[in-house]
Amino acid sequence: MRINFTNCVSHCTRLLFWVACGFLTLNVTQVYAQGQTISGKVTSAESGEPLPGVNVIVKGTTTGTVTDVDGNYRLNVPADADILSYTFIGLKAKEAAIEGRSVIDVVMESDVTELSEIVVTGQGSGISKKRLATTVDVVSSEDLANTPMVRIDQVLQSKLPNTQIQLSSGQPGTTSIIRTRGIASALVSTTPIIYVDGVRVDNLNTASALSNDTGGAQSSTLADLPIENIERVEFVKGGAATTLYGADAANGVIQIFTKKGQAGAARVTFETQMGAIEGTSDYFKFDQTGELAFRTGFLQSHRIGVNGGNENVTYTFSGNIYNDNGFQEAIDNTRFSLRNSINAQLSPKFNYFGSLGFTNNQFTRLPNANNSRDVYYGVDQGGFGDPNEWDENPENREEAIRVQEATSDLYDLTEAVSRFTTSHNFTYNPIEEVTIKAVIGLDSRNSRTQEILTNAYQIAIGEVPEGTVDQGTIDNYTRNFLSTTGSLTAQYEASLNDFSFITVVGGQFFRNDDRQINAAASNVVEGSQSINNAADNTAEDFIYTVTNYGYFAKENIGFLDRYFVDFGFRIDYNTGFGSNVGGQFFPSVGASYVLSDEPFFTNAIPTSVISTLKLRATYGEAGNFPPPFARDPQINANPYLGGTAFQPGQPGDPNLKPERVQTLEFGGDLSLLDDRIGVGITYYDQKTTDALFTAPYAPSTGDENQTRNLGEISNKGFEISTNFLVLNSESWTMNIGASINTVENEVLSTGGAPEFNLGGFLFLGPFVKEGLPVGYLRGSKPTFGPNGELASVEENANLGNPIPKGFGNLSLNATYKNRLSLYIGGDYQYGSQSVNVNEVLRFFNGVADDRVPEASSDPNQFFNLAGVWIEDADFLKIRNITLTYTLPSQILENVFSNISVSFSALNPLNFYSATNFDPEITGSGARATLPGTNTSAQNLVNIGAFGYGTFSQPRQYLGTLKLTF
């Protein structure tokens, strides 16, 4: 008998889904066994302050609670219980023998190395960092608290030591570039996949396939991911550590965990934030640009948080209203978000945790970048003559003001997003050693964008002649995205003599449905905001549907609690794979060794000198799956002049499979001088095989570019993060953190495909070529003679590397008497190059600097000059300075449990090497078509490195008042 394996797998996946659904509605009633009640207080060893939120459980069971805001807890424990376990992120775990006591007070110490911290690295329920052969970056709620920001990538910027996050524009809702270990793919975005409470959420961080073009600034789904009420964020770097996340985890995994409530009476927190928002003129050549473009805007944010519950059920709720009216006229952003969670211990063996988040985000934007409607940068690019000569030529100033006013008053681009994310986690402990966990949830995101170009506006900016009445246009874009996730895992923990075992097996599926429509109208009657009032309408849709399902297993074996080996695999199936491609096997294997726990080590070296020394090495594979439907040969049916035009589309590839990122990494973690110095070092050697290239065929074939598994890409480098506890006295603590990460990127092979480009301009763009970095900047390189004449031109020269050779973060955390705290965070990069497109445009407008000699300054030959506009893109930016004061408890009386006041300056300082452009922003690259084609696509790699025409992150000066009742 022949078994249809695909159908079998498909059925299994459905089964998995149904089993997960079964957990959703399964309701079990249990009665607690009688025991004793233990209470107590948990305090900090360093400060003596009470510690809220500490997990207190009866060891070996799931019976537990968390400490309240005063550090107190009360717990019913079974009669046979003998040990209580106390854990909290950032603190060393502690155990206390009950020994008949009814009151147990505990003092907990901070854990700088955090080896004992529990993290969720795979699809299991959690594992201590100590046992891992890889690293996990954790951002705690305390870290998040000092960042008054509203989007996840902005929050994480400068907080993840080995990750670079760049906001590509200062306009609301726009994309970012998130990179960790270089660029592993020449096709797929470097944005990590994101889970909220175990559920995958939309992480599209590029232009969606159908989206408006304001000349580079594109909308990102990261701008509206509900991030209220976060307990912590974990980031697992791509490659070896993300094998269990499978076919698209090569860029890493961000996991966001919602807070669980604390038992006790409801605690209410109010937070009000107000301040000023203003554009940064740091990068302008002309002062007049900022004077004309910017005005100081007002920002306000109001937040309420409630949490409470009893021993069995806790809840949290958080709501936020945010508005800023922008640093420019006609840019504003209003946002409403809600998030709640419920944690219910349904029985001693059965736990339910559910969370729900909703966001409504609305904003307006202005044209920018490579767009003739970009009036503001038009000033800085000399589009209105030399602003320094406006006194002599007042008509140029008047024209700039007139166009600026017309754009502010008449240009109309609005976007509104509604997003709903929910997760349901069911945990079942049939026996003490086994944890079975089912997760089901979804992310539903709906956005609509409308751009109206009235005749009046087009006349005002000189795009059409005076008197035009029939060239108004309206573009409506809607995107409906639904992602559904289901997973079922079982974790078994066992000990045998000196061995300990953690075994995880499970399965997971997710399905993404992405449907987009562009409905456009032309010849629109003036004054209409509906496409109904138009002579001509057109529509286009875009459908992306993909289901991925996989099975995984992982074994972590410990010996003497200091030797650990870890191995696992995942097998993934994906509806985007070619018809000849079956399940994809992703293995991982690793080992770690806590040398500092060896008796000989502790005997030889006091823990006051070296408290922790851990060595680790691992090898693992993860993937990026190909775009849906890229495997299929297509005939394009294009609308054309009222008919349907059949034309050959992509040839298709039945062997299309995920690109595979193989990572070998090794390193160590070291804590010195009573944990005053912490150092983590990792060397990684990452190779992408079967890299997905949408490379051209020979033109003589007439074949459209096809995504194929053609290439090989290498990324190598070091990741070093350090932490220094500079001060730790009765009154003072000061922590300084710094990291440096290096990247050496190279395309090892193009699989015989010709060089191809990844966007940019005709004369100067990022290309993919064997032996050079992904997206190396290609263009003509001129050499000038003694009189400035163009002596020679090297065509298609390698002009620069868009990938920084190094980047990292800097942070300072200081507290005085636990009342006054100062946080400073920033990041930097070096060793990459960008294109100064602003200067290219200044060249045309006659306001350029002297980089092009007079004798070679024929605008008619500027293609030959490409190389002169390449500049180093080094920068150091201070992103956040926050000073917080917490009022002494004695003046709070019994009304408040806490009052704090903060003052923040966001994006206050910028240091950079480039000339009059921000190397971080990019007005290009977030493409919406496959390389070399007109085929709509999204989630494509964004090389960046084109600095122009969009404003940088604005400065914000904020005051925050936080009241807790």
């Binding site: 498909s10 059925h11 459905r14 889904f17 149904w18 659904c21 079964g22 509605t25 399964l26 079990v28 003739s372 795009e463 059409v464 002649p465 008197g467 029939d470 246009t473 456009a520 032309s522 010849n523 001509d536 057109t538 459908i543 549907t545 289901t547 439907f629 299929d632 297509q634 005939i635 394009n636 294009n638 609308p639 054309y640 002049l641 008919g643 035009a645 059949f646 034309q647 050959p648 589309g649 051209p696 020979a698 033109p699 003589s700 074939t701 007439g702 074949d703 010709p754 060089e755 480009n757 005709l762 004369f763 065509e795 407008n845 006659g846 605008p859 008619n860 030959q861 500027f862 293609f863």
Partner: protein, 474 residues
């Protein structure tokens, strides 16, 4: 017991076959069409022909702007359109060379697929569909032969000389003509390809046949303002919404912009076949045969024909000469222009774009009059006039580049992906040695009333008419 019942219930649901029908997360349907879902369907051949028309529009987007810049017709003063062609730097590494090659090959291969796969499978297909497929395959080969020095004639094939493409085009045009006799388009296509090959007799015969079928014949490439493709050349010449500024040779100013925004939903077409060409071919053949009087008569007929073609009026006030440096080039009716320092100044060639609407010929225009033709009594004079007429009538259609004898090389992408492409001649452009690289240079002082073009290329063509690259009947 309760738990057990619940468990049994859910397990039962899970294993019910109907549960799978209710929800199947692995079911994914590609919303697009595949070859399997198109071939054999009713109307597929007709739609395939519409696809070829659309592809031809993309071909013209791929070739016209670079060909115009690579001639004396237009100069690129400040745009992201190609800059290398302006100075006759035509490199195999130029991405525009690759685009031109690819779009033409796409047209050829699409037409071949239509002939071999789509047409035979469509029971509703008509012979006119089949003829059109042959026509477009021939058209792709014609353009390959006219624009490229050497090029593969087959996918991944070796590069063969332009003459092979032209001869292969004849076969396709003849096939189309046999399927649908009496079609002016096919006759005119044959006339053109024989003209390219220097066969005056065949060219004249087919040209006359085309005239006999339809003395006003026009065939256009149409653009779709709403659904794309839109016209790149209209964008380059008229639309001011993006960063572009192409400027015509001052003596051709009255013909610019040939394409303009008719409305937000209507683009200007490019007339890629028009009966004027048949007369021009006949006239050149007559000159080659020494029949000067007959040629004069034919040329007057052309003038008369051109006068029947429409002028359209519209505002071109958004365009300056140039956009960045207004008044740096002739931009007023008071400016007289001479074709070279040796030629007389002529009035009436430059328009005033800021003085209200301008009237511009959108099919054909010429400054040549019957009276002027009467003044030309020599072979050289008439031939130069004839090439001026070709230049004027075909402006913004990509033809001047071909008349100047310039041919592009095989592209770098083809070289890298096709092992049959050789270094050397395959990847070298053909540029006649007598062409100056600054061929669209002018002398003009802002504010003055006279402009001088540096080179009269029509005269240079006549002087070099014995060269194999140009003036094919000589």
């Amino acid at each position: 017991m309760k738990k057990l019942l619940i468990a049994i219930y859910f397990l039962s649901v899970c294993f019910l076959p109907t549960a799978c029908d209710f929800l199947n997360p692995t079911e994914v349907i590609n919303p697009n069409l595949t070859d399997q879902s198109v071939i054999g369907t009713v109307g597929s051949a007709e739609r395939w022909v519409i696809g070829l028309q659309r592809q031809n529009a993309l071909v013209y987007n791929g070739i016209v702007d670079i060909a115009e810049l690579g001639s004396d017709n237009y100069v690129n003063t400040e745009t992201f359109f190609n800059q290398q062609f302006d100075g006759l730097t035509i490199s195999y590494q130029d991405p525009d060379v690759n685009t031109a090659q690819f779009t033409i090959a796409d047209l050829r291969q699409s037409a071949a697929f239509g002939i071999e796969e789509v047409f035979p499978a469509d029971a509703s297909a008509e012979v006119t569909d089949q003829a059109e497929m042959y026509f477009y395959r021939g058209w792709a080969k014609l353009l390959s032969g006219e624009l490229f020095r050497r090029l593969p004639l087959e996918p991944d094939g070796p590069a063969v000389p332009s003459v092979d493409h032209l001869q292969s085009a004849i076969t396709d045009f003849q096939q189309a003509d046999q399927l649908v006799p009496g079609n002016a388009s096919y006759q005119l296509a044959l006339a053109r390809v024989y003209y390219d090959l220097g066969n005056a007799a065949e060219a004249s015969q087919h040209a006359q046949a085309a005239i006999n079928i339809d003395p006003e014949f026009l065939r256009s490439v149409e653009y779709d303002a709403l659904n794309a493709p839109t016209s790149d050349m209209q964008d380059a010449l008229f639309d001011r919404g993006s960063f572009d500024d192409l400027q015509p040779l001052p003596r051709l100013d009255f013909l610019d912009p040939k394409y303009y925004g008719r409305s937000a939903s209507e683009e200007s077409p490019i007339y890629f076949q028009k009966i004027e060409e048949a007369h021009l071919i006949i006239a050149e053949a007559q000159l080659a045969a020494g029949q000067l009087a007959e040629a004069q008569a034919t040329m007057k007929n052309i003038v008369a024909l051109v006068q029947t073609r429409p002028l359209e009026s519209f505002s071109d006030a958004a365009e300056d000469r140039t956009d960045d440096n207004p008044s740096s080039r002739p931009d007023s009716t008071i400016v007289e222009v001479r074709a070279s320092p040796q030629d007389p100044f002529r009035a009436g060639l430059v328009l005033n774009r800021q003085g209200g609407e301008v009237s511009v010929p959108v099919v054909s225009g010429t400054s040549v009059t019957a009276a002027y033709i009467d003044t030309q009594n020599t072979l050289e004079g008439l031939l130069e006039t004839l090439y001026l007429m070709r230049q004027e009538i075909f402006i913004a259609e990509g033809r001047r580049f071909i008349d100047l004898g310039i041919k592009m090389p095989v592209s770098e992408t083809e070289l890298l992906a096709n092992s049959d492409i050789q270094q050397g001649e395959d990847i070298q452009a053909l540029i006649p040695t007598f062409l100056p690289t600054d061929m669209d240079a002018i002398e003009f002082t802002p504010g003055s009333t006279q402009a001088t073009i540096k080179y009269n290329l029509n005269r240079i063509l006549v002087e070099n008419r014995a060269s194999a690259e140009v003036v094919p009947f000589f």
